[in-house]
């Protein structure tokens, strides 16, 4: 079966620093593929290139068999690729429901409508409320996004990713800054999504990654040093040396 996402020979430098170094990676349909790596390994740079906010120097990104290397970000999103943000990136002055409804609208299309009131649009509202229920935020739908806690913001990010019904979800450290209870809740949420969407998960939390991933790739200085099942990665000596250290 052809890979949903296929990255080959990707390179990106900032000045003298190679943030992405001859990177090859694939995500199969339905797979949860996790990327781990120490700080500064180039994880977020990789996500930025995948969603189109940064241009790679060389290399190709194929999505659903189509070369999307030079496709602008808003079109990639419409092709079925969505991303969440490591640093919470919501529209803070809008309500929680409006944030989700906007993501629903992005998939629904028809954004060039000037007449009907969007907040009274049942199609947007009902889907947004259903998604909020799925991530456990239905009670806070009318609050402004800024009023919610960090953990709740992380859940909103997931709801937005779900709203797009994207075939591929690029999740940039969904557990970042969460406490242990909150992390458990997030792992549970992601387990529920897994299999229904293909996911490329970038994450620091090792327990979470080993609990969730079908395959894991280890990124060090912009280069993938190993790809395999969680068990493979756990027993890989190069990985232990480069990244897991004495913890492994």
């Amino acid at each position: 079966m052809a890979a949903l996402l296929d990255i080959s020979g990707l390179n990106k430098s900032f000045g003298g620093i190679k943030a992405t170094d001859d990177l090859n990676l694939s995500v199969e349909p339905g797979e949860l593929h996790a990327i781990i790596g120490p700080n500064g390994a180039g994880k977020t740079t990789l996500i930025s290139q995948l969603c189109g906010l940064q241009r790679p120097d060389t290399g190709a990104i194929r999505f659903k068999g189509r070369d999307v290397t030079h496709v602008p970000p808003h079109r990639r999103a419409r092709l079925g690729m969505t991303r969440s943000y490591q640093i919470t990136s919501l529209i803070m002055e809008m309500s929680v429901r409006d944030n989700i409804a906007l993501a629903v609208q992005a998939r629904d299309g028809h954004a060039f409508r000037f007449i009907a009131a969007a907040r009274k649009d049942r199609r947007l509202r009902e889907q947004a409320d259903a998604l909020l229920a799925r991530v456990g935020l239905q009670a806070k739908a009318d609050m402004k996004a800024v009023a919610l806690s960090h953990g709740e913001h992380r859940h909103m990010e997931i709801a937005i990713a779900l709203a797009s019904q994207a075939e591929l979800m690029l999740l940039d450290e969904p557990m970042a800054g969460l406490g242990s209870e909150e992390t458990k809740a997030m792992v549970k949420l992601l387990k529920g999504i897994k299999g229904k969407h293909s996911i490329l998960l970038i994450e620091h939390d090792m327990d979470a990654v080993f609990a969730l991933a079908d395959r894991i790739s280890v990124l060090v200085y912009g280069h993938i040093i190993a790809t395999g099942t969680p068990d493979d990665i756990r027993s890989n000596s190069a990985v232990q040396q480069a990244y897991l250290g004495e913890d492994a």
């Binding site: 002055e93 609208q105 992005a106 000037f114």
Partner: protein, 335 residues
Amino acid sequence: MTRKTWITLAAMVALAVLPPVFYWTGNAFYLDLATRLTILAIAAVSLNLILGYGGLISFGHAAYLGLGAYAVGIPAYHWLYDGIGDWATNGFVHIGLAVAITSTFALITGAICLRTRGVYFIMITMAFAQMIYYLIVSIETYGGDDGLVIDTRSEFPGLNLDKPLQLFGLAYVSLVVVMLLVNMIVNSRFGMVLQAAKGNNERTVTLGFNTYIFQLVAYVISGAIAGYAGALLGNFTTFISPEMMDWRTSGELMFMVILGGTATILGPVLGSAAFILLEEILVDSLTWVEHLLDGILGMKIELSNYWHLPFGLLLIIIVLYVRGGLMGLINRKED
């Protein structure tokens, strides 16, 4: 209905009722003031669409006002001096021209300006406006920097704009329609994207919206409405000069929006009212102090020439201490 809606309705009813009452009781001056205020309010509401709801700080909005006014003045000029057909005084032609010219200007300049952000956007919108300003100054036929007298007002069937009350009526109805229009736009799906892009542009793009196009469309709508306001302003002043499209006028429009409260429907209207009325009140009261000083102490100081000083101070105080402008004052009490 919320408190805000009630206040909006009350303010709009007051604006409809008070000026004619002043007129009938022999204070025609106040009707003039209200007409000017109403026309500038239309321009401020249009600016608020991009500035308040879109987060696009345009410092060139006066250009649209000026272009709209010249769209009335230039055909009227040729009608009088070159004897071109009577179509040249038709109000629908004037408004059609004003809207067509300003939306084209907005489309071309917006396409360029929106490639920049922040301070650069402010500077480039101002630069385009100044370009139009110097263009008009250089055209001797239309008076250059002396300006152009509009000898005949726009003609509409069943409407005589030479009658102050009818001109006010047209301006008032236009303001209400524009307010409803902008309210409808900002609450629509389109408006949601526009406001989201203001809050977090990158997120809105990665959701799948080409925010550039949304902002450009809003920019064109805003420019067209301001052009319409300009056509009304030309009819009101019956005189246009390049000064009308100077950067200072752009700044005044910006101030009206910020003073009244950005991203609210009534805010720019309150802002324009406060701006225009404050100007009058300050000049009047300084003149009064002048007479007092002259009468009591025999001092002859022309204080009223310096009304800008207390005016500026008041504006600074409001911007610094009242978050959200005059609408902020109203909303605060709601909490």
